[in-house]
């Protein structure tokens, strides 16, 4: 059978039946019991399990497996989405629909001149009732907004991650590359890869709002739009890789083969895969390709490729906040003091081959609830320059990462921004500055709809504690 072609959801002609069959399949999967590996609840539980939901012994190796803050984020989700696509496709055939159904993707980052509606959620998803009055199974518990406008501005849909050459990083203090930090099997905690941070995390919380399904990894996959979102993230991995020879996946056994994952085929039988099985989309399960991914600049090859890791860098701590920074107000400021030796030498006077780099680290971010994202600004205390935006601190998965009983021991999330250019502009690198002011500006999330889709009433009881968040330490690292 020919590989399936995943198309942009906004490019589907009005007569296209892709979404109507998707709706029918979702309704069928919701009717299946949670113990069935092809049911809606089971598929969602693979990504995460709400705290009040017991895990059957038979599902121990399959539920709560999502890889986050890890270089396995992309390959695991590729397998997960392909498994979902296979199950939905088979269900559609059983319902009398066409064979070879392919999951569409939502390209919210598309140029608005090409598609003015790109930032808007397709109408098939945001109306709770169908024109005839029946339940729309593509609707879900989401932030309460008008006409599918979740305020996906340029800070949400940015594709800056595509510019990074490094796929991964193993060095503390430095950014984690495009794909994520080097980890073992990891269901959350630590630093995000660039593509996971933006646009992935921010899309999750913007759509989910304060109490919607998408805001929490434990419920996110209950929302049908989740799959179109992750289909797009998967497509962006292909876009990144096809940009040129310097955009390479890791080639070590540690990433390719050492860690394996388990999911289910369309018939409910389990299968195991590793990252190596996820490199060529046309051989992932039934096989698929995207309609708008640019052709690769050179044939993809695993053999002989160097590890796509960050350069051999050794960043060192240069300064830190006096202690933890609780973010209790809409705007919170803290001072990062530099160790004297760093205030007395210019970063430009370096003995290394190139100029030193500067990284802002937000360490051990812990908390509860869904506090939303924060814009992070840096500034020199007392100067006349405007504070400069260092980056967006996303908090998707905060509560899981803060739970001491989960595998990461409650260490929380972390975030690293490279601020070399800003540091130069603000004079930090001239060796005359002893302090840096860091400001956190909270973005409030809209409240989510209290209603849940028919058949998923048990998830209405899932309540979250009030949002609270603190950063364990704000620090500066110089490479």
């Amino acid at each position: 059978m020919a590989v399936r072609t995943r198309r942009s959801v906004w490019s589907l002609p009005s007569s296209d039946q892709t979404l109507s069959w998707y709706r029918k399949a979702v309704a069928e999967l919701i009717r299946r019991p949670a113990s069935d590996p092809t049911s809606w609840r089971y598929l969602a539980a693979i990504h995460g399990v709400p705290g009040n939901m017991p895990v059957p012994t038979a599902a121990n190796a399959f539920w709560d497996q999502c890889q986050h803050q890890s270089w396995f984020f992309l390959p695991w989700h590729r397998g997960y989405v392909a498994s979902f696509e296979a199950i939905i496709g088979k269900t559609i055939v059983e319902l009398g629909g066409p064979d070879g159904w392919a999951l569409p993707y939502w390209d919210y980052s598309e140029d608005l001149s090409a598609n003015p509606n790109a930032r808007i959620m397709p109408p098939d998803f945001f109306n709770r009732l169908l024109p005839g009055g029946g339940q729309n199974q593509l609707w879900s518990r989401r932030a309460q907004v008008q006409n599918g406008n979740f305020n996906l501005d340029s800070t949400v849909v940015t594709l800056a991650a595509l510019q990074l050459h490094d796929f991964a990083n193993a060095t503390p203090g430095a950014p984690s590359g495009f794909g994520g930090p080097v980890t073992g099997f990891q269901t959350g905690g630590g630093d995000n890869g660039a593509i996971e941070n933006l646009p992935h995390n921010r899309i999750h919380t913007r759509i989910g709002g304060q109490n919607g399904f998408m805001s929490d990894p434990a419920t996110a996959a209950l929302d049908p739009i989740f799959w179109l979102h992750h289909c797009n993230i998967d497509r962006l991995w292909e876009v990144w890789r096809n940009q040129g020879a310097q955009f390479r996946n890791p080639a070590t056994a540690q990433w390719l083969t050492n860690v394996t994952f388990s999911l289910h085929e369309a018939n409910g039988n389990p299968f195991t895969f590793a990252s190596r099985d996820m490199l060529d989309t046309t051989t992932v399960m039934h096989g698929y390709r995207y309609d708008t991914v640019p052709p690769a600049q050179e044939p993809p090859s695993v053999e002989g490729v160097e590890v796509a890791m960050a350069r051999d860098i050794d960043p060192e701590l240069a300064g830190a906040s006096e202690g933890p920074v609780p973010l209790e107000r809409d705007v919170t400021r803290t001072i990062v003091s530099l160790r004297p030796e760093f205030t007395q030498r210019s970063l430009l006077e370096t003995t290394r081959a190139g100029p030193r780099r500067v990284y802002l680290n937000l360490e051990n971010i812990t908390g509860t609830g869904v506090p939303g994202d924060y814009k992070v600004y840096i500034d020199m205390p007392g100067d006349t320059l405007e504070p400069a935006l260092a980056g967006i601190m996303t908090t998707f998965g905060l509560e899981r990462a803060s739970d001491p009983n989960r595998p990461h021991g409650g260490s929380g999330l972390s975030q690293v921004f490279e601020i070399t250019e800003l540091a130069n502009r603000l004079g930090l690198t001239q060796g005359t500055v002893s302090q840096l002011q860091v400001s956190f500006v909270r973005e409030h999330l809209p409240i989510a709809d209290e209603r849940v889709p028919e058949g998923l009433e048990e998830y209405a009881q899932a309540s979250r504690p009030d949002a609270a968040i603190r950063i364990g330490r704000v620090s500066l690292f110089y490479d």
Partner: protein, 268 residues
């Protein structure tokens, strides 16, 4: 075991292949210097001890006559303890078995400290880490003496080994063990400057040591009820390394290995 140890060492420089710059940096890393190297030295010391000197207090239970009764046996056993020797034995055991598992925590505290004070912070962390373990050593010795006396008093010495290993196996299968291990993976934010940095390094060591005791104490004490010496210690070390090397620890496999060890002791 070498492959498992290599994986644990690998955590000092994740992503490194053989003889890559990252691997060489790993050998120079704080994790290697402070965890793997001391453990290797401890193993060399243990293996180079004369056989008669190996494992006095811990592994060879001092025994009184059966007719003397439970209290008399226990009293004699306690009186036979040589505190210096016991501390040395436990110290070597902790360094040999537990330090290789400290690599991630040592990497964390080293990377998050100013370069000029990395060794100081790691040293303070290790001092904090050892404190709860030495407390556990005293408790562990008392537990071993009491249980050995009890088994001797009941004339059940032949099943002491399998009982101890069985209890340790049950602990491996418990949800409490899994939670304790998860907590072991936690890190904490550290002050960077001055006394506050020292106190944070110490408190992180104390907390990490306490969590480590909570997760590993039954495994490192109960199987020794019937003695076992270096062979038992090496087997338990392999169990710990295997759990750490797997991305999803196979506690069930550990439990089977422990039962097998217990049965071996019962037969021997």
């Amino acid at each position: 075991m070498i492959a498992m140890l290599a994986r644990v060492i690998h955590q000092a420089a994740p992503g490194a292949g053989v003889l890559t710059p990252q691997a060489i940096r790993g050998l120079r890393s704080a994790a290697f210097r402070w965890s793997v190297a001391p453990a290797a030295i401890a193993w060399i010391l243990l293996l180079s001890l004369p056989r008669s000197e190996q494992w006095g207090t811990l592994c060879v239970a001092p025994r009184a006559g059966l007719a003397d009764g439970f209290i008399a046996q226990t009293s004699v056993a306690i009186a036979a303890i040589e505190p210096t020797r016991m501390t040395a034995e436990w110290g070597l055991m902790i360094v040999a078995m537990m330090f290789p598992l400290l690599s991630p925590a040592i990497s964390h505290i080293s990377a998050r400290s100013f370069k000029a004070r990395r060794n100081r912070s790691v040293g303070i962390f290790i001092a904090g880490y050892l404190a709860p373990w030495l407390g556990a050593a005293i408790t562990g010795s008392m537990i071993l003496i009491l249980m050995r006396s009890m088994f001797a008093f009941l004339s059940l010495e032949s099943v002491a080994g399998v009982t101890g290993c069985g209890l340790a196996a049950l602990w491996q299968l418990s949800s409490a063990k899994k939670k304790a291990v998860n907590r072991c993976h936690g890190t904490k934010p550290l002050h960077a400057f001055g006394t506050a940095a020292d106190l944070d390094a110490l408190s992180f060591g104390l907390v990490h040591g306490s969590r480590c005791v909570a997760s590993c104490f039954p495994l490192t004490v109960l199987p020794f009820i019937a003695g076992g010496g270096l062979g038992m210690m090496a087997a338990l070390f392999a169990v710990l390394l295997a759990e750490r090397a797997r991305h999803i620890p196979q506690y069930g496999v550990s439990a089977i290995v422990l039962v097998f060890l217990g049965l071996t002791l019962a037969r021997g």
